[in-house]
């Protein structure tokens, strides 16, 4: 009898709770919008991403007043240490224990892809800003929950590689970081080189991270290619550019193309070593007034100008929060759907929109690193050569391979 009563009570409780649960799906869960950032906080990508990205996202939260219609915005951060397993474990933990609403993923494509899987399984909104691999909106796409914001390997190849081939630098040798990011960047750049009439003489895969690139550079030198394409990032890029100069590669008549170069890399290399490098970037602090104004505020807080990843983090967090405000919910699919309707225009993005496959298409910039004479001081590093309209910069939806969109 007692058991029967208990069951009856339990049944009644469930019946009462059910409408509440259903309602919860339409509002903000736990009365808080919870954002978690998974970044490289201490490794080779932490200068271009790391703490600066946290500062940028905090700026977006402050801009929204720290709350959305009375629901507080909470921010958590963790170091993924460039390990996919650590990243996905943290994401699972945040999902199970903290009921996280948005995960902002930073640099490292391996981790980026792993997070895409976890977030789509757990129905968490996911925006990646630092990982370069175009796989995030192609073979590994999850367009209902996962967005890719700042740049991708396609845009880098379509910018830097195409521009250089058109200048007559038509034979390439690649030095590639041996993991998901490097492979994808190499693949995209090879396609771009060949599509524009160039040839690829060879490639070498360097372990990530590597301190000494001299062996690889010597092999590239021996290949006789006109251009040595560096499909790497962060400290790997710095070391390879610096050592290319040391080994007289540029004096020998070969060009170095750093396919992914961040502002912090140029700062670490110095203009003497970096001058003349062609690069593609999603953002430059000095691109226009809006960018300058925001970057000045960022510099006050962080002590350095923002990289494109950090600016992209700000932009994605800000637009996510706006979408939450407009929809009145933090349910992942509803917010992501809203983001796809909104024009994306802020300090970071020009002519931006989120495409069906989750890619944030926006204008990119082809830039060249200034010579020491041209530069007027610290952080004055790029000449913007031209603006690449979003549709030219990124791979078109038709050429993409996102199964969920293609059906």
């Amino acid at each position: 009898m007692k058991l029967f009563k208990t069951m009856l009570l339990a049944g009644a409780a469930t019946a009462l709770a059910a409408p509440a649960l259903a309602q919860d799906g339409g509002g903000v869960s736990d009365d808080a919008v919870k954002i978690g950032m998974l970044l490289d906080m201490s490794g080779p990508y932490s200068a271009l991403d790391g703490q600066g990205s946290v500062v940028a996202v905090q700026m977006a939260i402050d801009e929204m007043g720290g709350e959305i219609d009375g629901k507080t915005i909470e921010l958590m951060t963790a170091d993924h240490q460039n390990k996919a397993d650590i990243g996905s474990n943290l994401a699972r933990q945040w999902s199970d224990q903290n009921n996280i609403d948005l995960i902002l993923g930073g640099a490292n494509s391996g981790v980026g892809i792993a997070l895409q899987e976890v977030t789509s399984e757990k129905n968490i909104a996911y925006i990646n800003n630092g990982a370069a691999t175009a796989a995030l909106t192609n073979e590994n796409c999850a367009p209902e929950t996962g967005l890719h914001w700042t740049y991708d390997t396609d845009a880098l190849a379509n910018g830097t590689a195409v521009a250089m081939v058109k200048e007559g630098n038509d034979s390439w040798y690649f030095i590639t970081a041996d993991y998901a990011f490097g492979h994808k960047l190499e693949e995209n750049a090879m396609e771009a080189v060949k599509a524009n009439g160039g040839t690829v003489t060879g490639n070498v895969r360097a372990p990530f991270p590597t301190q000494d690139f001299s062996s690889f550079l010597l092999q590239a030198q021996g290949s006789g290619a006109k251009v040595i394409g560096l499909a790497n990032a962060g400290t790997d890029t710095q070391n390879s550019v610096k050592q290319a100069q040391e080994f007289g590669i540029v004096q020998g008549g070969q060009k170095v193309a750093s396919l992914l170069l961040f502002l912090t890399d140029v700062e670490a290399l110095g203009l003497d070593a970096a001058q003349g490098l062609t690069l593609t970037t999603g953002f430059y602090w000095d691109q226009d007034d809006k960018a300058r104004e925001w970057s000045a505020k960022f510099e006050e807080k962080h002590g350095a100008k923002p990289t494109m990843v950090q600016a992209g983090m700000y932009s994605s967090a800000l637009n996510y929060l706006k979408a939450v405000k407009e929809t009145g919910t933090d349910e992942a699919k509803a917010v992501v759907a809203k983001l796809k309707e909104m024009p994306i225009e802020d300090a970071f993005s020009r002519n931006g929109r989120v495409r069906e496959d989750g890619l944030m298409v926006h204008d990119m910039f082809l830039a060249q690193v200034k010579t020491p004479d041209e530069s007027e001081g610290k952080w004055d590093y790029y000449n913007i050569v031209r603006t690449i309209p979003g549709d030219d910069a990124f791979r078109s939806l038709e050429d993409g391979s996102c199964a969920a969109v293609k059906g």
């Binding site: 201490s42 080779p44 041996d178 360097a206 372990p207 062996s215 010597l218 070391n239 040391e246």
Partner: protein, 294 residues
């Protein structure tokens, strides 16, 4: 002429580059071997102290305007003194305990040092220019050899040979070797063994700092530069035979070359080849190439 499908010039170039990397390995593993030999401590802080050496050179230039050449002497002295303080204050109380305690302490120390430099300087690295006298390249016909890299080989060879001579051919070295064999007996002869131990630790640490200064102009001066190299150096010491001076030097250069060649034949495997060699050596000769069987 070609060697395994690799043109000879490229092959020669790779050999030379292997030697350059080997030079760093040799100086670092030499310091480790010395410390292990006399103190029986696996000095996990060695990589961090190598990094500190590079930073001291950077700071000397940045703050005091002291250039590369004085720094090459000053940085090892400063870091060596720091090492002596570590030995006296931290390692001495652990001398009678299990080796593990020394290992843990030095590991903690490495994390502390790295964390501190990361806090103040970030990870993107600081620039340190190649000194004017060593700018430029030699054209060897088969490759361009940067003058500075050639200097790295020469400088490390000099330091390695001098250290080896000191240990093997001088009275001080003989006393040190005796203390390794039987510290109590040496003490009975009136030798101040604790002082000897302190000086040895300081010297080993100074060698790490010297390698750090050598590395500063090639790599960016970076708080993580030590942790990137230290595990490899440990493997090299094990391959050479724990505590063997000659073993540390020879296997340092040898494995640098081995790694360099792997970068041509199978680049993806170049960061594990040293550990594969270590595993094989441990199976075939557990005491290492130059170690005495226990």
């Amino acid at each position: 002429m070609a060697f395994f499908d690799i043109p000879l010039p490229v092959f020669m170039g790779q050999l030379l580059i292997g030697l350059i990397n080997g030079a760093f390995y040799a100086v670092l593993s030499l310091g480790l071997a010395l410390i292990f030999g006399l103190l029986n401590i696996v000095n996990f802080a060695h990589g961090a102290l190598y990094m500190v050496g590079a930073f001291v050179a950077f700071l000397l230039l940045d703050i005091a305007g002291i250039g590369y050449w004085p720094a090459l002497l000053l940085a090892p002295v400063i870091v060596g003194l720091f090492g002596i303080v570590i030995e006296r204050l931290l390692l001495r109380p652990l001398a009678e305990l299990d080796h593990l305690y020394g290992l843990l302490l030095t590991f903690g120390l490495a994390l502390l040092l790295e964390g501190a430099f990361r806090h103040f300087y970030g990870v993107s690295g600081e620039r340190y220019a190649i000194p004017d006298a060593l700018q430029g390249v030699f054209n060897l016909g088969f490759m361009f050899l940067p003058v500075y890299r050639a200097w790295v080989i020469v400088a490390s060879l000099i330091v390695c040979i001098a250290t080896w001579l000191l240990i093997e051919k001088t009275r001080l070295g003989a006393t040190m070797r005796a203390a390794v064999e039987n510290a109590d007996l040496v003490r009975a002869f009136g030798v101040n063994v604790p002082l000897l131990v302190t000086v040895t630790y300081g010297f080993g640490v100074a060698l790490a700092a010297f390698a750090g200064v050598l590395a500063a102009p090639i790599y960016s001066v970076n708080p993580l530069m030590g942790s990137n190299i230290i595990i490899v150096v440990f493997a090299i010491v094990v391959i050479g035979g724990l505590g063997s001076i000659k073993g540390a030097i020879v296997s340092g250069f040898l494995l640098g070359v081995c790694e360099g060649l792997t970068r041509v034949f199978w680049p993806e495997a170049s960061n594990i080849v040293i550990f594969v060699v270590m595993a094989i050596v441990l199976i075939v000769r557990p005491a290492g190439l130059f170690g005495k069987a226990a």
